[in-house]
């Protein structure tokens, strides 16, 4: 009678280990179902904190991307508008040259002047182009920037302001998105409207047409030079979009590293736990089925 007595009740111990195994199975199942190794912060506190930061960074990059796509729309609208402005000015120049050189009657010059007046209206309308409800050449004012006004020498009044906006397109990286209309259309030397107006007046007066054409030419060169600003901006956006795409890929792969369930190992754990569970269940089934009482002879 000196053998070590064993616990005659293995059941509570077996049930506890069954519970541990079932917890493991639950955990594996939730990883399999969600594909994530972190389903609540306690699964991996450091990982959960990193994941929170990672999600914030991804959201920030997304915001920059969205801002860029909307800014890009504005920039390309401005750029193509200025392209139309230069085309119109070219036409004005050739009309002016025609008016200066050809042997023309007064009525011929008058009709050229009329066509130039049409060009002037077209230019005003181009200068009042808006993008998503916002005049793109009004500075930061929210009014129609260019208004025909005979009291001005150029015949056009600028109601916008000289404000500019910048939009963040990266961390600590912001891009100026507009030039005030006054800077583009009322350039040094001769503004667009002033030059065209002068040309119209010169044609009507049949004097100083040549110098007026030169004025328009100066305005043309100046506007053309301003387009560089918008082209530049679009280039920066293209570059930054590429950068952010790379960053986004990196952030996503970082997120996967932190939080994605390692499916092969989860599945293998799951299988092991299932086997363990079956074994424990088997053991519980076998336990205490037999004892000496079963072998006592019937009375």
């Amino acid at each position: 009678m000196s053998a070590i007595r064993v616990n005659p009740y293995p059941l509570p111990g077996l049930l506890a280990s069954l519970q541990t195994t079932e917890q493991q199975i639950q955990n594996d199942l939730s990883q399999l179902a969600t594909g994530r190794s972190i389903n609540e912060p306690s699964d991996n506190p450091t990982g959960a904190a990193e994941l929170t930061q990672n999600l914030a960074q991804i959201s920030q990059v997304d915001t920059f991307q969205r801002s860029m796509s909307s800014v890009n729309g504005e920039l390309s609208t401005a750029d193509s508008t200025l392209n139309s402005v230069t085309t119109a000015l070219q036409r004005a120049i050739s009309l002016g040259v025609e008016g200066a050189n050809g042997p023309l009657s007064d009525s011929d010059r008058a009709s050229i002047a009329t066509e130039l007046q049409g060009i002037q209206s077209q230019l005003i309308s181009l200068a009042n182009t808006s993008y998503q409800g916002q005049y793109i050449f009004a500075g930061t004012a929210q009014v129609q920037p260019f208004v025909a006004d005979p009291s001005q020498t150029s015949g056009v009044r600028y109601d916008g302001n000289t404000g500019t906006n910048s939009v963040a397109i990266g961390n600590g990286y912001s891009l100026q998105v507009n030039l005030p209309g006054s800077q583009i259309f009322n350039g040094p030397g001769a503004g667009v409207f002033q030059a065209v107006n002068d040309l119209i007046n010169a044609l009507q007066a049949n004097s100083g047409i040549g110098s007026a054409v030169n004025e328009v030419n100066t305005a043309y060169n100046y506007v053309d030079a301003q387009r560089v600003f918008y082209g530049n901006g679009m280039n920066q956006i293209t570059d930054q979009t590429n950068n952010l795409n790379t960053e986004q890929v990196e952030l996503s792969s970082q997120q996967n590293t932190i939080a994605q369930a390692d499916l092969p190992s989860v599945i293998s754990n799951f299988t092991t736990a299932e086997t363990g569970r079956e074994a424990t269940l088997g053991a519980i089934g076998q336990t205490s089925q037999m004892n000496l009482f079963n072998f006592l002879p019937p009375p």
Binding site: R5, V6, N7, P8, Y9, P12, G13, T20, T34, R36, I38, N39, E40, P41, S42, D43, N44, P45, T46, A48, A49, E50, L51, T52, Q53, L55, A56, S59, Q60, D62, T63, F64, R66, S67, S70, V71, Q132, G133, Q134, Y135, A138, G139, T140, A141, Q142, N161, G163, N165, S166, V167, A168, N171, S174, V177, A259, S288, N291, L292, F295, L296
Partner: protein
Amino acid sequence: MSSLFATLDVAIGALGAEQGALDTTSNNVANVNTPGYSREEPVLVENPPIVLGPLTFGSGVSLQKVQSVRDPILQLRIDGETQQQGALNAFVTGMQQAQVQFNSTSGGDIGSEISNFFSSLGQLSTNPTSLSQRQAVLTAAGNLAQSFNNTADALIQQQTNVNLNVEQDVQQINTLTGQIAQLNSQISALQNVGEDASSFVDQRDLAIGQLSNLIDVSQIQTENGLTLTTSNGTPLVAGNQSFALSTQPNAAGMQQIYSQQGVNITGTLTSGDLEGQLQVRDEAIPELLSNLDTLAAGLATALNTTNQAGFDLNGNAGGNLFVPPPAGVTGAAAGMAVAITDPSLIAASSDGSPGSNGNVNVLSAVQNQVIANGQNASDYYSNIVFNVGNEVSNSSAELSSAQLTLQQLQNQRGSISGVSLDEEAANLIQYQQAYEAAARVVDTVSQMLDTVINMGATP
């Protein structure tokens, strides 16, 4: 020279002793599934011999007593481990419910709402006059405030639930200490007349085990029975007297625990479910709430200050974007709310011209601005997530190891005190055979007596 009657006495004594031993076996078998039952053993002793000249005759067997097989030291270790486990279990359960609020993967948590809000500002920056973009910012601000409200409310609700648990724990403790005092008096009454009190001791061990799950218990065995105190010395049971604990809410409505002497012992408990509940209620959740308040107040203040520095769509100086947090920040998260409903009041402009986005950019930059503790909002929040996850994860690990230890100890207790049916069956055969043998002796003596009585009567 012995007599036949002496032999008969020995045999009859044996019948009684074996029957008593059989009773013990029967009781063990009957209690095979009774929780807390410790198996009993019959103690059979030889009767004093009769000396007749050169001869010494044995005078048989008697059943001296029936004793329970138990290890009091092991029982103490089990109770101690149960207290640890009780505290950890309460803490893990409480905090697991709390951490659900900080699940960044499901979205809708504070972290994602912070991101969404700044994202809406980024959009507004590209079109500062757009009323729909402005409305989107206000909506995102509302969601942000709502996520702070929801999280804080859920934590406060959790705190209230735990507060109820504290009250229930105290009631249960009082019931158990009452039972233990009752059992103490029954045990000492039996022991005073030299009787076996095993079954009451078993019941008392069981009750102390349940008590240990709730509160830290120190046991001192005195002449007057068992004395139970908390580890800091608050009496719970002394002999047949129990000392009920009581609860009184403090100014914040949190139940404080008082000893029968009227001493507030709330902060002095070291383990047991009650202590785990108190840790959740008085330490973990308040710390979480205070961190959330700091974050909410920091964000609201920084955004308000910035909004005030700009100009709204009408060219007026900006006002508060959020309702200013209370001084001392307590309650800032639960009370966070957007101060304006008119989207044109967002101060996007830095110079008063409506199309300017200068101040939106400054508002956006609050995202990377230090809000509290040298950290920006996202980092501060992720720190909260880490802390709550870490608390649950650490205490879960401790709980697992405490459960293993407890399992081990209970296994050990089972190997000492548990009823083995094999053993009982063997004992049954053994006692039955001894009983049958003694009966055969009685039979034999009876025949011999017949022989004596009929001596000479035979023709």
